[in-house]
């Protein structure tokens, strides 16, 4: 499977992708700290059997303004798409994730999933999540989930009671939270993200 990683603000990432019958693509988007970005991506699954595996993470510990808009369009039946976006937002940053799954009439046997999770670290940070479904075919399996939350104080207590310093424990929590996306990166890119955790 074709697998690509884009660091937004550094690499030029595509804004429109078209997947023909049987084509499969894995794509990972990374928004490192200190990046203001307004990025929108449209992926058109237009042949049967096309598959998209999309993941992204955004780290906004300062005063970033991040807007990610993703439209996954199932124009043909029998395709599957999967999305996973994770964000950590602190400081006075603003982060928006707007993701729409569109299933065209007659795009039967579609499977589409989308997840968006964010952690809020400060009183002055703001997050907004808009996971959306627009479905015009009946024989489909589509679902999305979105959560926003904060670093679990009980986990923190558990680690601190075992002698792990607070800052270290917080970093471990964030690492664990981001792991499903970081796993997809090269070692060098992963190191960079780990080092930049607030």
């Amino acid at each position: 499977m074709d697998s690509r990683v884009y660091i937004l603000g550094r690499d030029s990432a595509p804004q429109y992708l078209r997947l023909e019958a049987g084509e499969e693509l894995a794509m990972t988007l990374v928004v490192p700290p200190g990046t203001d970005v307004q990025y929108s991506l449209e992926v058109d699954l237009c042949g049967p059997g096309a598959g998209l595996d999309l993941a992204g993470l955004y780290l906004c510990p300062g005063s970033e303004r991040v807007e990610l808009r993703v439209l996954v369009r199932h124009s043909a039946g029998g395709c599957n798409s999967r999305q996973l976006f994770k964000g950590i937002v602190g400081g006075t940053a603003r982060a928006l994730f707007d993701g729409l799954i569109y299933v065209a009439p007659d795009a039967q046997k579609t499977q589409a999933y989308q997840e968006n999770h964010t952690l809020l670290l400060s009183e002055t940070a703001r997050t907004e999540s808009r996971p959306q479904l627009e479905i015009y075919a009946d024989d489909v399996q589509c679902s999305h989930g979105a959560t926003t939350g904060y670093l679990n104080p009980e986990e923190l207590f558990y680690m601190r009671s075992r002698g792990i310093p607070e800052a270290e424990a917080r970093r471990l929590q964030m690492q664990a939270f981001l792991a499903p996306v970081i796993r997809r990166l090269s070692d060098a890119a992963a190191e960079e993200i780990y080092a930049s955790l607030p």
Binding site: R130, I135, Y136, H144
Partner: protein, 482 residues
């Protein structure tokens, strides 16, 4: 399978009859003169007229909201009769017109207070405020409610008899300029229900409003105001029907609910306006603003709605969770068939500490209908420990309908948690096969599966309503399976 779906969508709307009753109208159209006329007909005090005129001037500067996932037919606001009422000799006659009595009997709404049989306690009595076109016809059980200090009457009476309460709370939850239709309603609202539960009183029976559109060419603009004072509780139900007509009729209502400290309000709706025919002609345009505020700490507001009717539904019952540790729920089943369109959902706005909310929405679309869930969950900077869980499921029946989910989650607090999930599915061949193979007719099987799917919401309804809602769901589905 195809045949079953066809059968299900061909059922008739049994509330679609017209009552022949002498009615009086104001002329068509909308301007300050009409508003003065409506206000004069109702014998309103000066402040009420000023309120209406203020709203009208705001409305004139507003534009129609376009953001809904709806194809609205153009509405000519000058081509609507804004006030229609059955003729009557005096303001509130002792005797109700037998034709009206019959109408409400036919709809299963008791307007007589049933006499108690010796030794037999009536079970589940319901006090009803019946609104026919622009006026409230009668309110039952007022005496026994008044003994407890509960005020339950038509809105017009409340304006006359309890002006202090009305002035204090009117437009305190839905401001006059909140949106286009709320402003229109504030300018021309005709009647509706008013309910006040005093401190510490548990309302001994369910209260209910029943709305009926009868006259042609009119719109219905009712206004409901419910106030639950400290520590009180009430269960409120709302039902509605309209005759079958080829034209679209406008229904733009406003419901405001104020819940004070430790009070508990349960608001249930079974919406069964005429949905238009199988080709999408006619039907009610149901453009409604409903909002409650949990003002005091520990207050609770629960919304339950079953939406089966209306050509177009545009409705977002919302709760502002202002008081600390207040909570709210929203349970909804929205069913669309043929060419019906629904864009409905809720807004949960968390402002106080430790506020909790729960959203369960079940959409069912069949035929050529469009069914959208649209919602907002917001955690304000003060909502420490706020918690929300939302679940939106869509069920598609047939391949020409649409099911959509448009939630917004906005978080401004690092100690609040919001969870949202949504799924879309259809009735599988396997489920149908399982039922039919056990001798259950396909229509019944679909009704059974849909009933099971909607059960979590239906079980929240008061008993009389739950039975009706279950029936409505299976009726609305007629001809949808195939």
């Amino acid at each position: 399978m195809e045949e079953i779906i066809k059968d299900i969508s061909s059922q008739e709307y049994k509330e679609g009859f017209v009552t022949e009753v002498a009615q009086e109208y104001v002329p068509k159209g909308l301007n300050e003169e009409i508003i003065r006329l409506i206000s004069a007909k109702k014998g309103e005090p000066e402040w009420m007229l000023d309120f209406r005129l203020g709203a009208f001037r705001k409305w004139q500067q507003m534009t129609l909201p376009q953001w809904g996932h709806l194809k609205l037919p153009p509405i000519d606001f000058q081509d609507i009769i804004y006030w229609a009422a059955p003729k009557r000799a005096e303001d509130r006659p002792d005797e109700i017109d037998p034709a009206l009595m019959e109408t409400f009997d036919k709809l299963g709404i008791p307007l007589r207070e049933r006499e108690m049989l010796a030794g037999v306690k009536p079970k589940g009595e319901v006090a009803v405020d019946a609104v026919f076109d622009s006026v409230s016809v009668t309110t039952t059980f007022r005496k026994s409610l008044a003994e407890k200090g509960i005020i339950f009457c038509s809105f017009s009476e409340a304006v006359r008899e309890h002006p202090d309460l009305v002035r204090k709370y009117l437009a305190s939850v839905v401001p006059v300029g909140d949106n286009f239709y709320a402003a229109l309603n504030s300018a021309v609202f005709s009647d509706g229900s008013f309910c006040y539960i005093p401190k510490g009183v548990k309302c001994p029976m369910d209260l209910s409003s029943y709305f009926r559109i009868n006259a042609a060419g009119t719109g219905q603009f009712e206004r409901t105001l419910i106030i639950a004072d400290e520590g009180s509780s009430v269960s409120y139900m709302e039902g509605c029907t309209a005759p079958m007509r080829d034209e679209n009729q406008l229904h733009a209502a406003v419901v405001e609910i104020v819940v004070e400290k430790d009070a508990d309000v349960k608001y249930s709706t079974v919406q069964n306006w005429y949905p238009g025919d199988a080709q999408g002609r006619g039907g009610i345009l149901n453009l409604v603003t409903k909002r409650g505020i949990c003002k005091g700490s520990g207050s609770h507001l629960s919304w339950t709605q079953v939406e089966t009717g209306s050509a177009v539904t545009w409705k977002y019952p919302s709760t502002i969770l202002l008081g600390d540790h207040s909570s709210s729920e929203f349970y909804s089943v929205a069913m669309t068939n043929n060419y019906q369109q629904a864009d409905t959902g809720t807004k949960m706005i968390h402002l106080g500490r430790g506020t909790r909310s729960r959203v369960v929405s079940k959409g069912i679309s069949a035929g050529h209908s469009e069914n959208s869930y649209r919602g907002l969950v917001q955690m304000g900077p003060g909502a420490d420990g706020g918690r929300n869980y939302s679940q939106c499921d869509s069920l598609l029946i047939g391949s020409s309908c649409g099911a959509h989910t448009f939630p917004v989650i906005r978080n401004q607090n690092p100690r609040a948690v919001v969870e949202h999930e949504a799924t879309t599915s259809k009735i599988s061949e396997d489920q149908l096969f399982y039922c039919t193979q056990r001798g259950i007719a396909p229509e019944d099987a679909v009704a059974l599966i849909v009933g099971g799917y909607a059960r979590e919401v239906l079980s929240r309804l008061p008993m009389e309503f739950a039975v009706e809602a279950q029936k409505l769901l299976s009726v609305s589905l007629e001809g949808a399976v195939g």
